[in-house]
Symmetry: C2
């Protein structure tokens, strides 16, 4: 785990915020280098699939030229939902490092734990730069509520 | 539930088989009409995300012009994995009808049950045209083993 990669995931989250998307960002790392970045584009692209992690996995598969991403880790600002946890497992990513916990939809320990359910097991660590990752989301929803009043 | 839609999902699975992909097919139905079809292209496109359901959801979002797919049902020949079950939930699909059960990775009752874990609940029914859906997979793996000898 290297904190600099979570900082880059946070930068990605801020790109989502800048286009009025729920600010979540992700990066995929292999051999100490970022090979793919992603941020949430669900509203902009009107597509349920386009979470930060899915965008990053799509790019990483294209970059490495295969559906398996061996030796890869993912850093994401929020605990992944079932779709993204599942995609991480499908892509054979090894380690997941996430920031804020998601009590409602997080599938690495909060709403449920998918890490050991399937044949490919993943390791994970949550709460990395937790306060910063939470603040981005809190501010976004606070501003959203203000505008909606 | 209308059996004719599972028959179309099976036709999609056979398209996957024809290109040497694990034969899994899916269709999305709204108001009694098929609005999107998909079949597994993971190997062909070298991309972990490209399961039948994901391809169909992607097309349905584009067709309906939003990330929510209200009033939509999905028919799929195999019990969805966590990624696809999660994507179905994210897209707010209402009912899932699947054929064969997947003891190792199925997330609607077999390996786990994600249907009621998250805020959006989905309804599901498994075992539809079970024998036919199982046969396609069994034959595919039998032929694969023969060729690999």
């Amino acid at each position: 785990m290297d904190i600099k990669f979570m900082k880059e995931a946070i930068r990605q989250a801020k790109k989502a915020e800048a286009i009025d998307e729920t600010p979540i960002g992700a990066v995929i790392v292999k051999d100490g280098k970022i090979i793919a970045r992603g941020y949430n584009k669900r509203e902009t692209k009107k597509n349920a699939l386009l979470h930060a992690e899915i965008i990053a996995i799509d790019k990483a598969c294209k970059k490495l030229g295969g559906w398996r991403l061996p030796g890869c880790d993912i850093y994401v600002t929020l605990e992944p939902c079932p779709m993204c946890t599942g995609a991480i497992i499908q892509a054979r990513i090894e380690n997941v490092y996430f920031g804020a916990y998601d009590a409602k939809s997080g599938c690495l320990g909060s709403a449920c734990d998918l890490s050991g359910v399937l044949p490919h097991k993943i390791e994970y660590q949550g709460g990395i730069m937790k306060t910063e990752c939470e603040e981005i989301l809190k501010n976004f929803f606070k501003n959203l509520r203000k505008r909606e009043k």
